[in-house]
Symmetry: D3
Subunit: 321 residues, 6 copies
C-alpha cells in the first residue's frame, strides 16, 4: 500500500477556512479528475430515473457536498483519520443521461469501470438505488461475487413494474443476483419494513439466501447482535456496503422518495456502520437523498455524516490491501 495523502489532499480545516466558504466538494476535499491519483474516489451518481414515486435524488450529490462541509477530519470514536490512511478526493460526478435510464446505466457502468481500472475505490452518493447496479457491474469480480451489507427500508428485490420495467429503484438487487454480481448468501439486509404489495413479497430475497433483518428483528436482537450477524454473513470476501437513506426514520431523513415510518435512528445507523470495521469493503454508496423534499437540509447533513462514517471503515480496508 502506498503512503498516505500529503497535506494538500486533505480537506480544508474549518478553523481556518470557514465552512461556508469556497466551492462545495465532498468533505471539502480537492477535486481530482484522474482516479489513478487517488485511493478512494468520492463521487456522485445523479440519476433518479428509476424512481417509483418522488424524483429528486438527481440533486443528491450536490446537496450532500454542500452539507459535508460540516464534517471534520477525524472520527470521534475510532479516531480513524481517513486522510492519513489514503489519498481521498472528490472525483466529480458520473455521466448520466437525464432522459434515458438505460443509457444512464451504461454511462455509469463505463465511468465506474474507469474509476476501478484507475485503482480507486468508489464511495458514491446517489441518485436512486438503481445506481448500485452499474457500480457493481463495474467493480464486481464475477468469479467471486460481492457480499453486501444493505441498509434499507425495502428489499429492492422486486422483479418488474408496469408489466415490463425490469430496471427500477425497487429491483437492483434481484438484477445483481441474476447477473452474478452479488452473492445472496453473503448478503444481509437491515431495517426492512413498510407495507407490502403482497404477503409473499419477501420470498425472493429469503429464497435466494439473503439474510433479511426487519426493523422488528433489529429491535429484538439489538445493535451488537445485528453487527455480529452482518460480519458472520458477509465473511472475509470482498463486499459492498449500500446505504439507502430510507433505512432511517423519516423524521431524520424526510428527503427521500419512498419514506417508511418506524425506521432506524441516526445513532443506531452510526453504530451499525462502525461495526463493519474489518470487513473487506471494496465499495460503498449512500443513495435516495432527494433534496427537494428536505427540511433545513437535515437529510443531506445526515447523509454527509454517514458518508464519513462509511469512509472511516472503508479507508482502513483500502489501507490494509
Amino acid at each position: 500500500m502506498h503512503d498516505s495523502a500529503d497535506e494538500d489532499q486533505r480537506p480544508s480545516d474549518s478553523r481556518l477556512v470557514p465552512r461556508f466558504a469556497d466551492i462545495a466538494t465532498f468533505m471539502r476535499l480537492p477535486l481530482v479528475r484522474d482516479p489513478k491519483e487517488i485511493d478512494i474516489a468520492i463521487v456522485g451518481a445523479p440519476c433518479d430515473l428509476g424512481a417509483g414515486n418522488r424524483a429528486g435524488a438527481r440533486h443528491g450529490p450536490r446537496a450532500i457536498r454542500e452539507m459535508s462541509s460540516l464534517v471534520r477530519r477525524v472520527h470521534p470514536v475510532s479516531h480513524v483519520a481517513p486522510y492519513d490512511l489514503c489519498r481521498v478526493a472528490d472525483l466529480g460526478d458520473s455521466p448520466v443521461n437525464q432522459n434515458d435510464l438505460m443509457d444512464s446505466l451504461d454511462r455509469m457502468e463505463r465511468f465506474f469501470a474507469e474509476v476501478h481500472a484507475g485503482g480507486a475505490v468508489p464511495l458514491t452518493a446517489g441518485g436512486g438505488h438503481l445506481i448500485t447496479l452499474p457500480i457493481m457491474r463495474a467493480i464486481a469480480d464475477r468469479s467471486e461475487p460481492l457480499g453486501m451489507v444493505h441498509f434499507d427500508a425495502h428489499s429492492d428485490t422486486n422483479d418488474v413494474y408496469q408489466g415490463n420495467v425490469r430496471y427500477n429503484n425497487g429491483t437492483p438487487f434481484r438484477r445483481a443476483v441474476e447477473e452474478e454480481l452479488l452473492d445472496p448468501k453473503r448478503t444481509i439486509q437491515i431495517g426492512i419494513r413498510g407495507t407490502l404489495y403482497s404477503a409473499d413479497e419477501l420470498e425472493y430475497p429469503t429464497g435466494v439466501g439473503m439474510r433479511v433483518i426487519t426493523i422488528e428483528e433489529f429491535h429484538e436482537l439489538g445493535v451488537e447482535a445485528v453487527i455480529a450477524e452482518a460480519l458472520r454473513i458477509v465473511g472475509g470476501g470482498p463486499c459492498y456496503v449500500s446505504f439507502d437513506i430510507d433505512a432511517i426514520d423519516p423524521c431524520y431523513a424526510p428527503a427521500t422518495g419512498t419514506p417508511e415510518i418506524g425506521g432506524l435512528t441516526s445513532f443506531e445507523s452510526q453504530q451499525l456502520i462502525r461495526g463493519l470495521d474489518g470487513l473487506n469493503i471494496v465499495g460503498a454508496d449512500l443513495v435516495e437523498v432527494a433534496p427537494p423534499y428536505d427540511c433545513a437540509n437535515i437529510t443531506s447533513h445526515l447523509a454527509a455524516s454517514l458518508m464519513f462514517e462509511l469512509l472511516c471503515v472503508l479507508a482502513p480496508a483500502v489501507a490494509r490491501r
Copy 2:
C-alpha cells in the same frame, strides 16, 4: 359476515399505477358514497373550529389522502390484508360548517349516524379532536358505553374554556363521559404529558376511573406491558380507538395544533396499535394533523401510515362479527 371485496374495490397497485397518479383518495381506494356498499368507511371530518391554538386540521383529510398513496396493501408484520377481509372505501368527507362549531357537531353527528345505519364502521381522519364526540354520539350504544384506547399528549377532559366554552378540542372526553357515550372505567389514555394549567388537572380523568399512562409511565412499563394494560382495561366490549397525532413527538409530527415534546416514536406507535388486535373495535380515528405546519409532509405520511395500522386491527374485528 359477507364475503371480501372484489378486486375493483381494492387500492390501485402502485407497481402498475404510479403513486403520484390520479385522484387522491384514502389508500387509493375507490370513492363510494353509499355506506351500505361497504364494511369500513374511511372518511374525513374536516373541522378544526375547536382548536385552542393553531388551526389547520381542517386540511388534514386531504393531506392524509395525498400521502396515503404511499401505503401498499398488506401489513408487513401481521400479514393482514384488510381488503381481503372487508369491503373498504373512501366515503368522502362529513359535512361541516366552516364558521359554526356547534352546527358542525350536529352535521357530523347526522353524517356518522347515516354511516352507522348503513352498516359501515368509520375510520376517520380529523379534523380536531372534538370530531370524536359526534362520531361517538352516532355510533355509541348508550346501554353499553364505549371503551376507548386513547393515544394523546393531552387528556382532553377539561371542562370549560373562556368561561363558558364547553366544546373545544380539550374537552371531548369529559363531554363523552357526561353523555354516557364513553365508559371511563374501560378507557385508557396513553402518552399523556406536557405542562399543566394546574396541578390538579388530571384529577378528573383519574377520578372518573380512566387509566392514565403518562409518557413517563410508558417508558417505565414498556410497550408490551402497556398493551397488556390496554387489553385488560378495555376488555371485550365495544371499543373505540382515538389517536391524536400529538401523542407522537413533534420531530415525527410537527404538523399539529398543540405539540408537546418528549412523545412517542413512530415505531412505538406502530407497536402499540398492533397490540390492539383482538379488541372489539367499532370505530377509530386519527386526529389533529394540521398540514399548514408540516415539513415535507412527514406528519401526513405518518398519519396515513398509522391509519393503515388502525385498519389492520379494525378489519379483522369487523370481519369477525
Copy 3:
C-alpha cells in the same frame, strides 16, 4: 350541440361545501371516467421524464386539483359560465410509465385518442411539456395540422440532447412540426426569453415560420397588439393552446423545472388568455408545474386559476360547434 350540464355535473358551491372539504378533483367537478358523457375533459398527464433539469411535474395534476378548489363557477370579466355551456368533468389521469419516457408517450397517446374518440375535448394539466406531443398525436387531423398559441419562456424546438435524445421537454414542437401535427405558420410563441445555448438557437422556429414574440417584443407591442397578432397568425382553423407555466415570472411561479427571470405577470397572462376568445380551440394544456419547488402553493393556485381562464375560452368554442 347538446344541452348544458345538469346541476349534478357542476362544481360544489363553496358557500355550501367548504373549499377544503372532500376529495380534490379539478374545480371540484364530479369524477367521470367515460369521455362519452362529457364535452370537456379536465385530465392530468403526470409525466416529467423529459425534464432537462428539475423533475417534479409528475405531481402537478394533484397539486393543481388541490388548489383548484378555490376557483368558483363564473368568469369575473366575460361572465362565461362554462358549466352552463358544456358538460365538464374531471376524467382522472392518463396512464404513464414512471420509468420509461417512450412508453409513457405511447400510453398517453392511446389515452387521449380514447378521450378524443369519445367526443371530449381535453384540457390537460401536465406533467412536463413533452406531454403535448402525444396529445397532439391523438387529436390532430394530419390533413389540417393544428395552429397553436404557445406561452413559454422557451421555444421548445430544440433537436437533440445528449447526442441522441430526441424526446425531451425542450423538443416537442420540433417533433410536432416534423410529424405534421402542428402547422408552424399558424403557430405563435409568446414570452420567449432566457439565455441561449447558441446565438442561432431560435433559427429553427423562425425558419419554419413560427411567430416568436420574445418578452422584449411583448413589452414593446403591449397586450392588445400581441392578442391581435395571435388571432391573425392562428386564424380560423383548429388550434391548440399550450401554456407552460414558466412563461410567467418565477416570483409568481417558482415551482417549475427551468425558470427564467423577467417573465409575464399573472395579470398579463390572464389578459392574453382572455384575448383568445373566438379561436377554434380543440384542446389546451397547462404544463411544467413542479410542486416540490412551490412556495405556499402559489404556483399550483396560479395554474388552477389559469386553467379556469383556459376553460372559459375553450367552453364557448366547444359550445359553438
Copy 4:
C-alpha cells in the same frame, strides 16, 4: 390637539438597538395599555373564525409585529414623521374567544369601544376581514355613517353562507350597510377580481351605491385617477380605510386565506395609500394575513410596511383634529 409624543414613546432606533432585539411590538413602539395615554392605538384583533377557507389570520398580529421591526421612523416620500405628530403605541390585542365567532365579535366591539372612548384612533392588524365589523360598531356614529376606502380582491358583501351563516369574512360590509355603520355611497372598493359564485354577485354592492373598481378598471384608469375617484367618493366626512392583503397579488402576499391572482403590486398599493392623505380617516385596518402560509415572512413584512403607510396618512388626519 395635544403635543407630540416625547422621545420615550417613539420606536427604538435600529441604528442603536438591533432590529432583531427585544420584545416584538408594532413598529418597536412602547406597549401601553391605557388608550387615554395615546392618540393612535396600533392593536391586534386575532380572530379568523370567519374564514371560508384557510384559517391562520389569528397569528397575523404577532407576525406583523415581528416584521414591523424593519420599519424606521420617517416616510421616505411625504417625510411624514408620525411619532412627531401623535402619541402612538402598541395597545396589545383585543380579547377574542378562539372557539366562538359571535362571542369574539362582542368582545372585539367592547374592546374597540373602550379604545374609542379613551380617545385613541385604532389602526388594527387582523385577523380575518370580519374584524372590521365590530370595529365599525365601536367607532361609527350612526348619525353620520362612515365612508370607506376598501382595498380587496373581494367585495365582501355576500349575504349568507351554509344557508344561515350571516357573519363570515365574505359578509362584513353587507352587514355594516344594514346596520347603518357604513354609507355605501361614500364607499369605494379597489382591486376587486376573482372568479364568481354567480354572475350577479356584484349586484349588491353596486346596487346600494358602492363604487367598485375592478382590477381591470384599475389598470384602465391608472393610479392617479383611482385616487381622485376615491377622494371624490369618500368626500370630507369621517371615513375608514380597510386593506385586505389579498388586494395584492399572491406573489407579494402568499399568506392569505383566499388568494386571487392578477392583483395589485406592492408599489401600486403604496401609491394608492399615499393618495389618501387629506381624508378624514377615523380608523384603519390591515387584515387577512395568515402567517402559516407565508414564505420567508414576505407577507408579514409587506403588511407591516403598509401599516406604516396607513399610519402616515392617519397621523396627519388625527393631528388635524
Copy 5:
C-alpha cells in the same frame, strides 16, 4: 426569601387568553425592566457573532418567546409551579452590538452585572454559546468559581480560530477556565460527539479535569447514572446550567448552527434536566437556536419547553436561598 409572585406576575392562562394573542413574551409573563422587582429574569442575549458556520441565533430570543406561549404554568411530573415560588418576568434583551463581537461581550457583561446586582437570577435564551462567557463574568464569584452542567455536542473548549480568534462559539469554556470563572473539576459535559479537527481535541477539557460524557458513554451509562454523575461532580457549590440545543439530535432541533447527528432525544433531555433538582443553580441558559433554519418552529418550541424545564429546577433553588 420573599413571598411568591402575586397573580399579576403570572403568565396568562391560555384557557382565557388564546395562546396566539397579544405580545409574545417569555412564557406569556409580564415584561418588567427592573431586576430588583423579580427573582428570576428570563432574558434574551441576541448575539451570534461568534458563529463558526451558520448565523441566525440572534433571532433565537424572539422565536423562543413566540413558541413559549404554548407552555402552561405547572410541571407535569414534579408539579413544581415556579410562579408560586418566585417572582419571574421577561426582562427583555441584553444590549448587543450587531457588528462587533468584542463590544457585544462587554455590553452583555454590563447588562448581566446589573441583573445580578439587582438580585435577579438570569435564565437566558441565546444567541450563540459565547454569550455564556459574559454571563459568567457577571455572576461568578472568582473566589468560588462556578460548577457547570453543560449539555452540548461540542466541548467548546477550543483555543483559537483563524490563527488569533480567541472568542468564538467554540471557545467559551476554555476562556472561562482561564479567567477562573469556571471550576473545571466541578464541570460535566454531556452529549459530546461529532467529528474532530484532530484526535487530541478533547485533551484540553479532560486535562483540566472536566468530566466529559460522550453520547456513546451516555448510552452505556443510561440517564440515571449520568444524573448521579452530574450531581457528584458538581456538588453543593454554586453552579450554572448551560444547554446548547445541538446536544439534541437535529431531527428535534434542526435550527442550529453546527448540528451533529446521533444526539439526545427530547425526552432524554427532559429527564436529564429534571435530575438536576437540588443543585445550587445560580444561572442557566439555552443557546444556539437559529430560527432561520427551523422547520415549523419545532426547535423554538423545544427550546421554550426546555427553558421551562430549567425554570422548574432553578425556581426551587432560588426559593431555597
Copy 6:
C-alpha cells in the same frame, strides 16, 4: 487584448451534461486559482458581518453557484457570448474571518489586490454590501476614483451605527468617498426607497454630489431615461457596478437582509443592466443574497441570472481594452 478562451474554459453545455450534475461552480465554469490565467474572475466574498439585521449572505456565493447552473452561454438579446470574448473562470472565494469584520475587510482587500495584480477583473458575489469597500480599495486608482452605478433600496451612505461602528452594510459608500476610492459626482444610485431613520438621511449622498434616483423617480422617468442618466453621470472613466439584490422587490428577492417593498421588477433590472453596455466597467458585484431566507431558491436564481447580465456588459468592456 489576448485571444478568447478555448473550449475547455467554457461552461459545460447543459444539453450534454445535465445542469444538476457535478461540482457547482459559477456558470459551470472551470475552477482556476491563478488570476493570471483569466480575464474575468467570478469570485465569492462570503462575509456578512456588517449586517444590520438578518445575517446569511455568507452563504450567498455557494447558493448562487448552485443556481447558476441554469444559465446558458449566450445573451438572448445582445447575443453577447462572453466566453468568446474573454477567459472567464470561477476563482473560488476570498478569504474571510468568520468572527472578525475588520480582519475580513483586510483579507478581502489583499485577495482582490492579488486578483487585480494578476490582471483579472473581478465579478463578485457577496456577502453583505460592505464587501464592495475592500474590492474598491484593491482596484481603485486613487488618482482617478471610480464612478459607480449602484442599484439598491438603500443609499448605504450612513456614517455610524451603535455610536461608533463605522463599517457596516449601511456605510460602505460614505467610507469609499472619504477614502477617495469613489467619485460621488460620477455615482448614480437607482431604486432608493424605504422608510428613513430621519428626514435628512439622504442629505449626505446628494450633498456630495451623488445622483439619487428613488423608485418614485424611476417610475416617473422610465427605464430608458434612467439608463441615459446613468451613462451621462458615470461618463467614460473607470466605473464599478454594484447591485444590491434588495433593489428588486422582495417578491422576486425575498432572501435578503433588509428587504423593502415597492422595488424593481426582475425585467426592469435586466433592462437597466443591459443599458450599461459601453461603460468602462472595471469590476462589478452582486450582494446581499441571504439564502437562509429564500423560497425555492428564486433569489439565488435571480442573482445568478443578473450576474450573467453583468458579465455580458463587463466582458465587452474587458475585451475592448
